[in-house]
Symmetry: C2
Subunit: 336 residues, 2 copies
DNA sequence: GCTCCTGTTCGAACCGGTTCGACTTCATGA
DNA sequence: TCATGAAGTCGAACCGGTTCGAACAGGAGC
C-alpha cells in the first residue's frame, strides 16, 4: 500500500495522488474523490521516511534532556509531557535524546538529520552544545539561557527575580538570617544556569535588605536535604528561614527541621521555587513560586516551529515571571 | 556531504562506500582507508531518512504514554529516562507519543512507519491499543499486562503480590482493619491494570488473614489524599492502617493523618507501592515496595529489540517481584 | 595456456515519496 | 478565428541511501 498502488487503482499517475494529498497543485474534484476513496479503502498512509527524504522535513523535534545519572525532577517530566503534546498538536513527533556532555547523541540527531530542530534542557551559562548548534546552523531553542542570551532563542523562568521575591517576602516577615539551598554541587560546578541565576537573585536581594545569608549546595534527594538542615543549624544557628530551588530535597529539608524540633512556620520559614506537585505534597504546604513547566513546554515548541518555518527570523525569547503562591510554610520570624 | 560526494572524493562508486560502512561485503583495506579518511575530513554521516527508506528500519522505537490530562507520576519519568538510555545504547532513538484513547498518534507511528516497534505504558486489562497492534502485526511490548497475557510481550510489576505482602505484614503487626488507597476513579474505571491487580492482591490477602477491608479510589494529587483520610476515618473509624498504590496522593495522606491527630506509625500505619523518591520524601519514610522503573525500562527495550530482530520469536515476558523496603511508617497496631 | 575461483569493484535498480517542466483541453478575449 | 492562459494531468528526475548481478583482475590448479 504505497503511492504507486494508490495511483494504479485510481487510474492516475503517482504525481497526481501526491498533489491531491498535498494540495500543492489543483486537482479536479472528481479525480480527488476517486483517489480519496481508494485511500480510504486501502487505509493508505504515506511513508514518513520517504516523505522526509524527498522534502527534507522529518516533522520531528529533538528533545535533549540530561542522562539518568542525574536525578530527574518533576518539572522535567511535566515539561517533556507538554512538549510531546504541543508537538503532536502541530503534527510533529518528539525524539528523546538523553545526552550529557558526551554529545554523541546530539550530533546523531543533528548530523543524520533525524529531526528538524532541537529543544535543549538543563542549559549551562557556557554550554558547548549551544556553540555546536550555532556552528552547525541548526535550529534550536533552549530552556534556560546562556550567559550571552541575545543570539539565541530560549524560554526561561526568571530565577533571579523569583529568589529575590522570596528573600523580599522573608525579610518583610522579619527574618534576618536566611540560607539558600541550591541544586547539587555537580550541577552548580557545571554552570547550570538556573542554579547560578537563582543564587544571584538571592544574594542581591539579601544585600539590599541587609539580610545575613549563606548559600549551600544540596544533592537532589531527600537524604541530602535532611543532612543539610543539620549542617545549616550548626554553622549558622541564627538561621530562621530557607529559600530553596531544590525541589527533590524538599521532603528531606522538612524532615531535618522536624528532627531539629523546629516547627514550620512557627519556628522556621521555608520558601523557594518548586513544581506545585511537590509544594503541595509537603506539610505545611510550601509557599513557593510554581514552575510553569507546562507553559514553558508549549512556548518552546512554538518558538522552535516558528524558527524552522522561517530560519532567518530574528532571535526571540520569553522570560517568564511567576507569582509566589502563598501557602503555609512562611511566617513571621520567631522572636529571639 | 552525501554518499555521492564521499564516493567522488575517494574515487570509488557509491556502492563501495556503502559496503565499506556497513561491512556487508568485503572491501580492500586500502580502499576502506581512503574512504574513511574522506569521511573523517568531511564529517560525513549517512542520512537517517534515506537509510530508513532503503532498508526499512528506522532505528527508532515508539514510547506511548498517557496524555497530560492525567497526572504523571515519578515512576513514569524514571521509566521514560531509562528507555531513552537503553535505546541510545543500542543506537536507537525514542519517539514519544502522548496518546490517549483517541489513538491517532499511535496509528501515525505505526502506519507511517515512523518506528520499528512500540512500548506502551498505562496498560488496561482490556486494551484496544493492544488489539490494534496485534491486528496490525506490529512489534510491541507493554508495561503491564492485559487480562489474557500469554499472546503478548510485557514487563510488569507483580502488583497483586506486592499489595498482598503489604497486607501480610500489617496483619502480622496486629492490624485488623485496613483501607486500600487505589488510583483515581477514572483510571480504575478505564480498567487500568495495576489498579485492578493491586486491589485483587489486597483483597485476597485480607480475606486470608481475616482482615476487615475497604477499598477507596483517590485522585492523583495531595488534596485528594488529604480529603480521603477524613472520609476513611469517618466511614470506618476502626481503621488503623492503609495500603496505598497512589504515590501522588501520598503527601496528602500523611497530611490528613496529621490533621486527624494520628501519629505515624504509633497510631496509624501506612505502606504500599511507590517510587523510592516519594517514599523517602515523606516523614516518617514510607515502608513500601519500590517501583523498579529503571529496570523495567531496560527490560522493555531489550524485549522489543529482540522482537524486532526476530519477529517470529515466541512471546516473552517478565514479571517482577520486589521486596518491601522496611522504612519507618509501619508499626504495631495500637492497643484499643 | 586455459579454466575456475575468489576478492574487489562498479552500475543499475530500488525504497516511496515530491516537484518541475511539458503537454492537453477548454474557456476567454481580441 | 486565433492567440492567451488557466486548469488538470503526466512522465521523469530527484532525495540519499542499500543491494543485487555482473564484470574484472590475479592466483591456483590442471
Amino acid at each position: 500500500m504505497n503511492i504507486t498502488e494508490v495511483a494504479r487503482r485510481a487510474g492516475v499517475s503517482r504525481s497526481t495522488v501526491s498533489y491531491a494529498l498535498s494540495g500543492n497543485r489543483p486537482v479536479s474534484d472528481t479525480t480527488r474523490a476517486r483517489i480519496q476513496s481508494v485511500i480510504d479503502e486501502l487505509g493508505y498512509r504515506p511513508n514518513a521516511s520517504a516523505r522526509a527524504l524527498a522534502n527534507g522535513r522529518t516533522r520531528s523535534l529533538g528533545l535533549v534532556f540530561p542522562p539518568a545519572s542525574s536525578h530527574y525532577t518533576d518539572m522535567q517530566l511535566e515539561f517533556i509531557g507538554s512538549v510531546a503534546e504541543a508537538a503532536a498538536a502541530a503534527e510533529h513527533d518528539v525524539l528523546l535524546s538523553a545526552s550529557g556532555d558526551g554529545d554523541r547523541a546530539l550530533s546523531r540527531l543533528v548530523e543524520e538529520r533525524r529531526v528538524d530542530g532541537v529543544i535543549m534542557m538543563e542549559i549551562r551559562l557556557h554550554d558547548e552544545r549551544v556553540d555546536y548548534l550555532l556552528d552547525a546552523g541548526f535550529p534550536f531553542v533552549t530552556i534556560g539561557r546562556i550567559a550571552d542570551p541575545e543570539r539565541t532563542r530560549w524560554v526561561d523562568l526568571d530565577h533571579s527575580a523569583l529568589t529575590a521575591a522570596c528573600v523580599r517576602q522573608l525579610a518583610g516577615l522579619g527574618h534576618r538570617t536566611i540560607a539558600f539551598v541550591n541544586r547539587s554541587e555537580r550541577l552548580v560546578r557545571a554552570g547550570y544556569e538556573s542554579a547560578h541565576r537563582g543564587l544571584d537573585g538571592f544574594e542581591c536581594a539579601a544585600q539590599e535588605h541587609g539580610v545575613v545569608t549563606r548559600a549551600y549546595r544540596c544533592d537532589d534527594d531527600a537524604a541530602a536535604g535532611e543532612a543539610l538542615i543539620e549542617r545549616i543549624l550548626a554553622e549558622q544557628p541564627r538561621t530562621t528561614a530557607i529559600v530553596t530551588v531544590n525541589e527533590a530535597a524538599l521532603g528531606g529539608l522538612y524532615r531535618g527541621l522536624a528532627k531539629a524540633g523546629l516547627s514550620v512556620p512557627r519556628d522556621f520559614s521555608i520558601t523557594g521555587i518548586a513544581a506545585s506537585r511537590w509544594a503541595e505534597a509537603v506539610t505545611p504546604q510550601l509557599t513557593a513560586a510554581d514552575v510553569p513547566a507546562h507553559r514553558m513546554g508549549l512556548l518552546a515548541v512554538d518558538l522552535l516551529l516558528e524558527l524552522i518555518e522561517n530560519p532567518d527570523s530574528p532571535p526571540r525569547h520569553v522570560l517568564l515571571d511567576q507569582p509566589v503562591s502563598l501557602r503555609a510554610s512562611a511566617g513571621a520570624a520567631p522572636a529571639r
